[in-house]
């Protein structure tokens, strides 16, 4: 009896929490004609025409450019964050440096409203001609990803037995060799987690994309909102839904496949940070 109630609650929660995604998914398969008469969840005559429209490149909407931009900036922002965080995490975890100042500073960074940095960065990017470039947005996303990557890596390195590094020291390894040949391979799960998590965060970022890009480097989150704003005579809801599904799908798939790693890192970031 109680088990049935639990399943009922689960189903209710699953539908309520995922409701916007479900609605968008269903709408994306409806023709314009069906949509005007049937706003409900059920699709009577599923069609792919919305997706055909989305993937048909036009001046108003170049989904491939947006997707490529998102992919490029998310990759840069994620890889750079991990590359920068790994040596710092090693130094911090081994108590050599920055444990009292750098770590809390960067961790707190995660809690500061991003808008604070957005305005000066906008001006700085204007001077450096980085506005509306994938490089510029990628650099900023690295900053966004740094805190969590650092926390995950510091925790992972702290869990490695110090004797391993001492053994490497006795074997004649330098600090850099220890980092690259002993610490990094052993932290591979944590590095993978930071990469996945960072990629999802970066892909989903909106504020910096909105402020720092206008056309060439627009990521898909911002591109989708353009589509809403720019449509003069009313939104084509079917096409809009298809755009949103395409933009939301990559991180959702990644999340579904890697949910174990992600759930672990979320807890680590929350409790230890």
């Amino acid at each position: 009896m109680i088990a049935a109630l639990r399943w009922f609650v689960f189903a209710l929660a699953a539908i309520a929490l995922n409701f916007p995604v479900l609605v968008t998914l269903s709408t994306s398969f409806k023709s314009a004609r069906e949509l005007s008469g049937n706003p409900g969840l059920w699709v009577n005559a599923p069609t792919l025409e919305n997706y055909m429209t989305v993937f048909h490149v036009s001046d108003r909407l170049n989904i491939f450019l947006y997707l490529f931009n998102s992919l490029a900036v998310a990759t840069l922002g994620t890889v750079l964050a991990v590359v920068l965080a790994l040596p710092a995490a090693y130094a911090i975890a081994r108590g050599k440096f920055g444990e009292r100042t750098l770590l809390p500073l960067i961790v707190n960074l995660r809690a500061v409203p991003l808008i604070i940095f957005a305005i000066p960065l906008y001006m700085m990017f204007q001077w450096l001609a980085l506005l509306d470039t994938r490089l510029g947005l990628g650099l900023i996303l690295a900053i966004v990803n740094l805190p969590l990557a650092l926390v995950i890596l510091v925790n992972a390195i702290r869990d490695l037995p110090a004797e391993l590094e001492e053994a490497a020291l006795m074997d004649g390894a330098s600090r850099t060799q220890i980092l690259l040949k002993v610490v990094a391979p052993l932290c591979r799960p944590a590095i993978v987690t930071s990469l996945i998590f960072g990629f999802i965060t970066a892909w989903n970022e909106f504020l910096f994309g909105l402020m720092l890009t206008t056309s060439k480097a627009v990521p898909v989150t911002v591109g989708a909102s353009f589509f809403f704003a720019a449509s003069g005579g009313g939104v084509q809801w079917g096409v809009a839904s298809a755009v949103m599904m395409v933009g939301a799908l990559p991180p959702m798939l990644l999340g579904l496949v890697m949910y174990r790693q992600i759930s672990g890192s979320m807890t680590a970031g929350a409790v230890k940070g």
């Binding site: 004797e163 001492e166 060799q177």
Partner: protein, 355 residues
């Protein structure tokens, strides 16, 4: 060659002194075991020799060369860690070859050395496995193998057997002893287990609070402990200590519970007699040096550990034959072998023993 000498070596963390002005000379090919209770500084001392801990005062020299400030690899020592510290992402072969690879030893030479070491340690069939696929004893051998291939001037062991179960520990102990005979290299071995110390060492160094309490052959330490600490630390079960006072000449009054005649220097003023359980025997109540009542006895197979309550002398542990006729609750006499008893003065230093 592999002589290691410490000259007034010291280690302090801020105000805390871990090792104080320690002098130690280790000859080439010697097997030295450092023992002491936990926190005595024995592991710190080993790590100072390895170069993993900074030496804050004094010098450490290897083969006459001052290495106090040298990096671990420049000291040409190898270390076997308590947890083995095998690299989990490398195979046995890669683990053993990592140091050679870093030292840019040609691949063919390295391969030969690894295979020779593996043959010595019976690891040949395991060379391509990962550490997680090995048993505790096999991991231990890989850790030793990793040390051997580098052909160091000396080996350092930090409680290497403490993670193994009892039966395996005995086997590995024998293997390490054999290895020492084959290689003839200098070995320094830290343990808290006095059986390992007694069986392996050419020389035992007993430490307490960052100082050396006594050093010498296992037999010296057992038979002629320099002080109460060593007397109590070496030997199992522990040595009995009986409070006493010198009466006249060579007669001792055992707290009014008995008498014992022992030869001793004229000026000596012993306050305690030390007697190991195996040097005591149970006799008829009137025949011993003191008397008491058996409070408990433990059957240990080969012998019997008997506890005698002897008034002001407290509980005396006597090692009796397994078929001893005396029973719990019986009054007995305790006979002390005068030739094997030790005497300690008010400061705990042994009387008449060599320091």
């Amino acid at each position: 060659m592999g002589t290691i000498s410490l000259n007034k070596a010291g280690k302090r963390y801020g105000a805390v002194e871990i090792i104080r002005d320690l002098d130690l000379e280790i000859a080439d090919g010697e097997f030295v075991v450092i023992v002491g209770p936990s926190g005595c500084g024995k592991s710190t001392l080993l790590r100072m020799i390895a170069g993993l801990e900074e030496t804050t005062s004094g010098q450490i020299a290897i083969d006459g060369r001052d290495v106090t400030a040298a990096s671990p690899v420049d000291r040409q020592l190898a270390m076997v860690f308590q947890s083995y510290a095998l690299y989990p992402h490398m195979t046995v072969r890669e683990n053993m070859g990592f140091g050679l690879k870093l030292a840019k030893v040609p691949a063919a030479t390295a391969r030969a050395k690894i295979e020779a070491a593996a043959a010595t340690l019976k690891l040949t069939p395991l060379l391509d496995r990962y550490p997680k696929e090995l048993s505790g004893g096999q991991r231990q051998r890989v850790a030793i193998g990793r040390a051997i291939v580098r052909e160091p001037v000396g080996f350092l062991f930090d409680e290497p057997l403490s993670n193994l179960d009892a039966a395996l520990r005995v086997d590995m102990r024998l293997e390490i002893a054999k290895l020492h005979r084959t290689l003839g290299a200098t070995m320094i071995y830290v343990t808290h287990d006095q059986v390992e110390a007694m069986t392996l060492a050419d020389r035992i160094v007993v430490m307490k609070d960052g100082r050396i309490m006594q050093q010498g052959s296992p037999r010296d330490l057992y038979e002629k402990p320099a002080n109460l600490f060593v007397a109590q630390f070496i030997g199992s079960p522990k040595m009995n200590l009986l409070a006493c006072r010198r009466r006249d000449g060579e007669q001792l009054d055992l707290s009014g519970e008995g008498n014992l005649a022992l030869s001793m220097p004229g000026a000596a003023a012993p306050e305690q007699v030390g007697a190991r359980p195996e040097h005591l025997s149970l006799v008829a109540p009137e025949a011993g040096h003191c008397r008491g009542v058996i409070e408990a006895s433990e059957y240990l197979g080969g012998n019997m550990s008997v506890f005698v309550r002897a008034g002001r002398l407290g509980l005396i542990n006597v090692s009796a034959p397994a078929d001893t006729p005396f029973r719990v609750g019986e009054a007995v006499g305790v006979h002390i072998d005068p030739a094997r008893a030790s005497l300690f003065d008010s400061l705990g230093a042994a009387i008449g023993a060599r320091q």
